[in-house]
């Protein structure tokens, strides 16, 4: 990584608050990101990856709230900023692309106005914002920007809408881009186009980027490092090559084994990890992956902490050399 980190998250916890107490869903996530670096956050649905990202943007909606931890971004501690100070960072320094383009645009507002708003919110004059929104729409490869800027979201396909959402996110050239499963809601043919577009823009604008995904294969070629989350915990954090070739956590290994590999005839077409992740309401003693883990032993009844392993970090008591095949 080298140099000072752009983003440094320490022990970040997110909980659903209620009168009867907090239900913790994200249990102390830590991660770092250097300027211009790309990170993938992978995990199954419900592993807390999207909530973690919303927490970074301070966009959690009640009853969800940050209950613990520190988010250092470019010298600010985001958890202690006022809503006003946070608003100034949102959209200008850090921006997000969301999962579902069908619902993430205002249905009553013209596309051009929604893109322009991302700039006027940060003091860009109306006329300037309008002019730049046309450029942005052209940059995300929306045809005939003059005309499409006057369209409403319902006149756009899913892929086109996601392009508009990308234009919104990039409007102020943020230093950090969070792409929260930007392709899951799209047709397979469109997915690749969107991924390629974001990747290209990321390089062009030299943005640090976090890709959130449940599909390791999708981002393998585009990221520097991967953080693996399981049941609200970071279980492994490693450079992408090491993660694919020498996973340091049994869960990561299971995820890799579950990747479909059409060229490998010796394996069954689909491999499953037995069982399911625990729900936030289910307390697992020790390691959260223990009930599904092939390597589990007595020591795993105590919760492992994230410790340096090889070139990354992993939260597992069992040394790789002792793993059963």
């Amino acid at each position: 990584m080298g140099g000072p980190a752009l983003l440094e998250v320490e022990d970040l916890a997110v909980a659903a608050r209620s009168r009867r107490g907090d239900l913790e869903i994200v249990h102390g996530v830590s991660l770092q990101l250097g300027p211009g670096e790309t990170l993938a956050v992978v995990g199954e649905t419900g592993s807390g990856k999207s909530l973690t990202m919303l927490a970074l943007m301070r966009l959690l909606a009640p009853p969800l709230a940050i209950t613990r931890g520190r988010i250092a971004f470019d010298g600010h501690d985001l958890t202690s900023l006022s809503e006003r100070e946070m608003r100034e960072l949102r959209g200008s320094q850090m921006a997000m692309i969301y999962q579902d383009p069908m619902t993430s645009l205002n249905p009553l507002m013209r596309i051009g106005a929604q893109v322009a708003e991302a700039m006027t919110a940060h003091g860009v004059a109306n006329s300037e914002a309008r002019r730049r929104s046309l450029e942005l729409l052209a940059r995300v490869e929306i045809p005939d920007p003059e005309r499409t800027a006057r369209s409403y979201p319902h006149e756009f396909s899913g892929g086109m809408r996601q392009r508009a959402v990308i234009a919104i996110a990039l409007a102020m050239r943020p230093r950090l881009l969070i792409a929260d499963e930007p392709t899951t809601a799209l047709d397979v043919t469109i997915q690749q186009q969107i991924l390629a577009l974001v990747n290209e823009l990321r390089r062009e604008l030299r943005m640090a980027t976090i890709w959130v995904t449940h599909d390791l294969g999708v981002v393998a070629r585009m990221v520097d490092r991967v953080v693996v989350m399981y049941a609200g915990h970071v279980v492994e954090d490693a450079p992408v090559d090491q993660l694919f070739h020498a996973p340091q956590h049994p869960y990561t290994r299971s995820l890799l084994a579950a990747l479909p590999n059409p060229t490998d005839q010796s394996r069954p077409a689909l491999v499953q990890i037995p069982g399911r992740p625990p729900l936030p309401t289910e307390m697992v003693e020790g390691c959260p992956f223990r009930p599904r883990c092939a390597q589990a032993r007595e020591a795993c009844r105590v919760r492992p902490v994230l410790e340096p392993r090889a070139a990354g970090r992993a939260a597992c008591w069992v040394p790789v050399e002792e793993w059963r095949p």
Partner: protein
């Protein structure tokens, strides 16, 4: 596309005509079912009981009550269709002239009341929805509940008596000033009745608005707007409120329609010569033509307001325009 629109318009017109016909029949029957008629109303029950059969027959013929009901109905309907709404024996004016005088007053009152209703109801809804289940929400809801529970005759009478007693101010004591003759006095006279009506109107607007706002707030595009760094106020107004407008407009349209029917009680308390009073006096005098024709005009306005509400949806939501 055009035929779809044409079909829809045709359907709306047919529906409207049927509704108006239903109203006409209903009012006609109701008037004849309730005890008393124009003879008892003008002479009093005792005097009319003392009438000789020939006197009674002459009066019945004079008022047109000797005709069979069907003939009365179609005679009146035929006249209405040719623009003759009948004549009031009490005032000697045509019902058309009376309505043309009373209607602008009622429309003015309804518009002012709706404005007050929106001015009170929408900020309350925004306040309540900005932090649901908090102290703010409780205040908003409490005011809404009060507005819903306090009857307008109570609020109206209280306002009138308190202000005139302690502030020695009662613009309604003078003769009614029409809007274009004396706008200043007219506005003073309209202020209290429209405030009272607006307060009552604020309650359903606030409740509808609050639940619509709460629903819209949870939608993804609101998060997108916040993610852009848009200020909280602008998110609430430009994104949330705008998307919550359809149910609010529906509720306001319905309430506005009712107001056009004349706020009988409030018009009476504040001596506003509106359409509600016209119906009420017509009913007291058993002037069948006055009541029937006025109610029909009110029903027609109601239908028009509904149509206007539909047009407003198209203005608010581009998806309605497209479909």
């Amino acid at each position: 596309m055009e035929t779809v629109l044409a079909n829809r318009v045709t359907r709306r017109v047919v529906e409207a005509v049927l509704a108006l016909l239903g109203v006409a029949v209903l009012v006609f029957v109701m008037l004849r079912v309730i005890p008393g008629n124009q003879i008892t109303a003008s002479l009093g029950t005792e005097a009319s009981a003392a009438l000789t059969p020939s006197q009674e027959a002459a009066l019945r013929a004079y008022y047109g009550l000797d005709q069979p009901a069907l003939a009365q109905f179609f005679g009146w309907l035929g006249n209405v269709l040719t623009g003759n709404l009948g004549i009031s024996q009490r005032t000697g004016q045509t019902v058309l002239d009376m309505t043309l005088a009373a209607l602008p007053v009622t429309i003015e009152l309804a518009i002012l009341a709706t404005l007050f209703g929106l001015l009170i109801g929408i900020p309350l809804a925004l306040l309540s929805a900005s932090r649901p289940n908090s102290a703010r929400d409780a205040v908003g809801q409490l005011v809404g509940l009060a507005a819903l529970s306090v009857p307008s005759f109570l609020l109206g009478a209280a306002l009138l008596s308190l202000v005139s007693k302690y502030l020695h101010y009662n613009p309604s004591a003078q003769g009614f000033a029409r809007l274009f003759e004396d706008p200043g006095l007219n506005f003073q006279q309209m202020l209290f009745p429209s405030l009272v009506l607006g307060f009552g109107l604020a309650a359903p607007i606030m409740r509808t608005g609050r639940s619509a706002l709460l629903e819209v707030q949870t939608q993804d595009f609101v998060r997108t707007a916040r993610g852009k760094g848009v200020t909280a106020l602008r998110v609430q107004v430009r994104h949330v409120l705008h998307n919550a407008l359809v149910p609010i407009v529906t509720m306001t349209g319905i309430q506005f329609g009712y107001l056009l029917g004349g706020a009988i009680v409030v018009e009476q308390i504040f001596s506003v010569p509106g359409i509600g009073r016209q119906v009420l006096i017509g009913l007291q005098q058993k002037e069948y033509a006055v009541v029937q024709s006025t109610v029909l005009v009110i029903a027609l306005l109601f239908v028009l307001v509904n149509l206007l509400t539909d047009l407003l949806y198209r203005l608010i939501d581009p998806r309605v325009r497209a479909s």
